[in-house]
Each structure stands twice: as structure tokens, then as C-alpha cells.
């Protein structure tokens, strides 16, 4: 039998009502204060809760109602299932989102192969300069990567608008922005409320591993982005086209950035392999791993 989003919403609501009558987990993360502010849970409320959850699993190991108890609580999984479903529902374009979700590893490989083919094709074209421009012209590179940069932005914007409408998001205050960014930079929601980390890969033992790995990926990405941005500025503003020497801004930013991202992703993948799959969204583990590998 196919599980529908409505089933997932019902299950998340059943569990949220139990949590709301207990409230012991109030200090763990952003999910609980938000949950406790409600008395009835619309599907939009539950979607928002699902997307606040970082799957740190602190609440699961602290819960007095997990199986074999008849209440059978597993909030991390209920919210993970719903979160995955919400991504499929809100992500644009939707058919691609579903495909990627269900069959992530295969799709990632397909994308990699596609890129390889693309590079081969480009390799067949004549190069025109030094460094990597010897392999691929500046024009061809911009032609490929500008859409690859802009399309995700468009996709994110459309998906976010849909999400905002469905969860009843209101106007944004500067304070809310500052808090959200502060929490994201520190990965506060993987800190377990006491700052000792989450319960992801070693049962009820707290660990900072997932938090650190996430931060490695994030800072790695930001460094890479800064590297590209600085290269763009050098190219267009200062008329200094690539290749850049090792002691230039793009390389100094890009090299550690790339290393951090790769290490972070491998770290996350190894943590995920050790974590109990029963506490996550089981249907899309493939997609999650694919995302990491990508």
C-alpha cells in the first residue's frame, strides 16, 4: 500500500499531540517551542515543524513513549517522512524532485555522467588560452555554468514561495532573520540544547560530529562561492583573467573550500551509515546518500 502525504500528516499529528501533552523536550531544539504554541495542528503547521527538525534525535532517546510503549513515538522519523514529502510537494520542478528523491544515487551518477560527456564534447572544441581555458573557453564555461547557477536560484525561489504560502508564513522581521542566521551559522539545532551535540550516530551519546561535518560543508561551500565571486570580480572588474597563481584570492579561498566540502560530505555520509535508519525517512535514504555524494 502506498503511503500518502495525508497519512504522513496524520501520523505526525498523532505524535505532535502526544508531545504537546508532555513537553519534556522543550529545550532541545526549535521544533518544540513552536509545537507547544499550537493546540490543533494543521498540515501547514506540521510541515513547518517537519522542516524545523534537524533529525538530531535527542527527543527520541529522551522519550518515555518510544516502542515498545503502545504510544510508539518516533518523532524524528515522523517529521523526516513528512519533511521529505513536503520537499517533493513544494520543490520545483516537481517531476524532477520526485525522481531525484526516490532514486538519488542513480540520478547523481546520471548527472556525473552527463557532465563527463559535456566535458568530452567541450574537449573536442578548440581551447583558446592558458590554464583551464586551454581546455574550455571562457565563453563555453559561462554558457554552461551560468544557467547551472541561475536555475537552482529560480527553483529555490519558486519552491520557497510555495512553502511559505502552505505553512502560512508571515512577514519577516530583521530580528527573526538575525536569529535564524545565527542559529544556522552555529548549527544550534544540532547542539542538543545544552551545546553538547546530537544523538545521531551513537545512540544516546551526544556528539558534535554531525554539527562539525555540516559546518565543514557549509563553510566549504561559502569559501568556494567566495572564490568564484572573487574570480568573477578579477575577470570583469580588474581585467585579470584566469589562470590565477596559488597565492591569489580565488585559489586561497577555493582550495580549502573544496577540501572542506569534500571532507564534510564524506564525514556526513559515514555518520549516516552509522546512524539508525529507523529514526529517519527510510523511503528516501537512497536520495539522501545521492545528495551527499553529489
Amino acid at each position: 500500500m502506498q503511503t500518502t502525504t495525508a497519512d504522513l500528516v496524520d501520523e505526525a499529528r498523532r505524535q505532535a499531540e502526544i508531545c504537546n501533552a508532555c513537553r519534556y523536550c522543550e529545550g532541545y531544539c526549535a521544533v518544540f517551542p513552536d509545537l507547544h504554541a499550537n493546540r490543533v495542528f494543521t498540515s501547514g503547521d506540521l510541515t513547518q515543524l517537519a522542516n524545523l527538525c534537524h533529525n538530531c534525535r535527542g527527543c527520541y532517546y529522551a522519550c518515555q513513549y518510544t516502542a515498545p510503549h503502545e504510544f510508539d513515538l518516533n518523532l524524528p522519523r515522523a517529521l523526516a517522512d513528512l519533511r521529505q514529502a513536503s520537499w517533493e510537494d513544494f520543490a520545483w520542478p516537481q517531476p524532477l524532485a520526485r525522481r531525484f528523491h526516490r532514486d538519488g544515487v542513480a540520478l547523481s551518477l546520471a548527472v556525473l555522467l552527463g557532465f563527463a560527456a559535456l566535458f568530452l564534447a567541450i574537449g573536442a572544441l578548440p581551447g583558446e588560452g592558458d590554464g583551464f581555458y586551454a581546455q574550455i573557453s571562457h565563453g563555453a564555461m559561462v554558457a554552461i555554468f551560468l544557467p547551472a547557477f541561475l536555475f537552482p536560484l529560480l527553483s529555490l525561489a519558486i519552491s520557497m514561495r510555495r512553502y511559505w504560502a502552505a505553512t502560512g508564513g508571515g512577514g519577516l522581521s530583521r530580528a527573526a532573520f538575525r536569529r535564524a542566521f545565527g542559529d544556522a551559522v552555529r548549527m544550534k539545532n544540532l547542539a542538543g540544547g545544552h551545546g553538547e551535540g546530537c544523538n545521531f550516530e551513537a545512540e544516546d551519546r551526544f556528539s558534535q560530529a554531525r554539527r562539525r561535518a555540516h559546518q565543514a560543508v557549509m563553510w566549504g561551500f561559502l569559501l568556494c562561492f567566495a572564490s568564484t565571486a572573487s574570480g568573477t570580480l578579477l575577470h570583469y572588474l580588474f581585467n585579470q583573467p584566469a589562470p590565477y597563481p596559488l597565492w591569489s584570492l580565488p585559489k586561497l579561498l577555493g582550495l580549502p573550500g573544496g577540501v572542506l566540502m569534500v571532507l564534510g560530505c564524506f564525514w556526513l555520509a559515514s555518520l549516516k551509515r552509522r546512524a539508525d535508519p529507523e529514526l529517519g525517512a527510510r523511503a528516501v535514504r537512497g536520495g539522501e546518500m545521492g545528495f551527499l555524494l553529489l
Binding site: E17, I18, N20, A21, C22, R23, Y24, C25, E26, G27, Y28, P33, H36, R39, G58, C59, Y61, A62, C63, Q64, Y65, T66, A67, P68, H69, E70, F71, G193, H194, E196, D204, R205
Partner: protein, 463 residues
Amino acid sequence: MSEPDVLVIGGGNAALCAAMTAAEAGARVRILEAAPKAYRGGNSRHTRNFRCMHDGPLGPLIESYHEEENLSDLLKVTGGKTDEVLARMVIRASEACLPWMEARGVRFQPSLSGTLSLARTNAFFLGGGKSLVNAYYRTAESLGIETFYDAKVTHLEMSEARVTSVTYERHGASHQVTPKSVVVAAGGFQGDLDWLARAWGPAARNFLIRGTPYNRGEVLADLLDQGVEQVGDPTQCHAVAIDGRAPQFDGGIVTRLDCVPFSVVVNRDGARFYDEGEDVWPKRYAIWGRLVADQPDQVAYAIIDAKSLDLFMPSVFPPIKADTLEELATKLGLPVKRTCATIAAFNAACGDVSAFRPTELDGVTTTGLMPPKTNWARLITTPPFYGYSLRPGVTFTYLGLKVDARAQCSLGNQPVTNLWAAGETMAGSILGQGYLAGFGMTIGTVFGRIAGEEAAARANHHR
């Protein structure tokens, strides 16, 4: 496997405090926990805070909460039925316990929403009691303590006021162990409904047990049968009024109902029987278990109207809802005419409600009604109407082992040389009746530590 120096019977807060303390003092310690690992921790799994005296801000606790105030709070709920020497000792020791707990992995948080009135007196565990239990088991493991789950103790062999061996069943086989010291921290007997029925009468078969089904009092019965000194009235226990739809065992916190102060409570016959608005709920919840237990069929019904629905924490079970009182009475299985007459008489006795304040004693009272409702007496007139059934929910029984200030048990007038008790199994020494929120954990922690210290000292001495 070598024989342990100290054997701890039980796997909840008091047992773990004793085990950690003994191991830190250098003893080889084994824990025998009757429950499987998933249900380890006894009633401590369901707890959430620790009552703690403090002379200034301490950890999550604000302002101060002095010894005398703490003692007077205890005397109020127990009606003076307490051992004042032991009570004072527990209160004094509680202050040093809080940092001790933190050093062993317990994390506290500011008071939970809906319990702000306790911010000064009670320290809340981040994640609740099970996270405390998990932290202690992690610490126990790092101290080299052996924990056997599914290990049910059946007998303590005694000779000349000394425990000579302990028999337990595990995985279908019987085992015997001969430790130097034994700590009993195995809770009350509320999990054994037959025992409850013997103590209370047949009414006890209608009681719900809020916590673990594994506290069946086997060890307690075995020791009492051998003449170990007992304390406490077998009919006394910590019991609250909980949602009548709660499971027989282990329903825990989510089955509590906080609606009583805003409601009219009637019994099976549709009659009121007690002042619903006598005091704020945290000071009254512990007497309602008994009140409901004294009603026919051990059941009562709290009725509110739409005005009050959002004034209390939601229960895990949705209320029974109806557009008229007649319909509600029918749905609750109450005599319709009698119930409606009770509500009508209550409404007629309500007066000026302009002073209504849901979070404090507001003096909004009935006039000329018996029994009166002395606070929050508002008309029950705004549909839809809501009803909850109430049943007595037992947390733990007070009949237990009598201990001295060093947690030691006795036989006749002489101490049992190597037997100590901690936690609910001896809390009847201090809680003669009534209950003070968070004080069970205080007793367990203080006496657990003392028992562990004494047990290790004797074991080390006889090494």
C-alpha cells in the same frame, strides 16, 4: 565474571546514584534491573524535575528556596506525617546534589511552559527523566559498573542480620550472587494489583498505574516477610487524578489533566463532591487521586465549557465534546437529569466573575453551594461543552523499608549490617501521606548517594 562487592537491586534514579557513588569509591558494582533495557529506569523515566533547596540562584533555579520554606511545604502536604530529622537531612543535602548530578551528565533547563510557578523550587531535566536515566547509565558504564537487564531478584537470604546471598532470575535461569553489600532501590509495589487490592480493598482494581509495571514489590515483600522493619501505611501512595482513558500502566505525564480548577467535577451519580477551586493545581493535583478513589466505581467527570478549553495544558486524549449539557452527560454515561441539575445549581451559585484570573487564586467563588467552589467559579454555559473522565493514577506506594539516616535497614532493633535502601522503596519514611512535586527524586538522589557510600565503605573494609 567476578563477584561484585556491591549489588544494587533496581535500575532507576536512586539505584544509579548508589551504584555510581559506590563505584567512584572503588567498589565493583553490579546493577540488577528487572526491566528490559528499553524500559530501564523504573519510574524515573517518567519524572521531570528535582526539588532543591538553595540559598541563592543555583543552576536553573532562580532566587532562593531555604530549608525552612522547603520543610514547611513538605509539612503542608504530608499533614505533619513525616520524619522531620530525615526530611531536614534530605532538604539540606539537596543543594549539593544539583552540581553532583550535572557532573554525571544530567542537564537542566529553565522551567517548562505551563510549570513556571516551579522555577524557584524545582530544577527540570532537559529531555525529562529518561534523559537523566540515560546520562547515569552512560556514566555508570564509564565507571565500569555491570548492568544486567531483565534480572528479577526473587530472594535475599539472610543470616544473623546480614544478607548472605541474593537470588535472581535472568533469561529463564536462576542465579545466585554473594555480594559484600546490597542496596535495595527497587521502588514500591504498585505494579502488583493484587497487593494493592489487599491493601485498599477491591476498589484498587480500578486504579491506573502511571509508571513502570516492573515495580511489583517482590524484593520488598521478601524482606518484610523476613522481619525487616517496615515504614508507612499500606493504603498511602502518591496518586493523582488522571485521564480515565489512560493505559493501565506507564501512561506517564501525558495522561494528567489540569482542567479541574476550571471545571465542575461530578461523580458517577452526577453529584459534586469537593471544592474544585480550593487552590492552584500544582498544590492540589496530588489530593485528587484519593478523592476520586473514594467515589463509587473510582471514577469522576470534569465538565468545562468553551470558555475554559485553552486555559490548561492539553491532555493526550481529546475531550468528549457536545453542544448541550444533556448530550454531554449522555456521551459521558452520566445520569442526564441529575448531572444537569448539578450544573444548574452550580451556575445559580456563581456570582460576579469580573475578577477571574486563571493563573492565581482569584476568589471568584460560589455562594450558598455545598461543597463550594472557592476560586475560578465561572458559569458553565457556553457551548460546546467538554468532558473528561478521571481515575486515580498511582505513582508509587508508601509502604516500604524503614531506614536510618545512613540509609541502613534494620531487623528487630539491630541494623542489617550490609543492607541499605534508597528511593521509593523507603520514601514512606518521609512521605507519610501526600506528595510534594519533585521530592521523590530528591529523596532518591540523597539516599542513593548515602546508600552507595555506606555500601562501598563496608565492601572496601571487608575486601
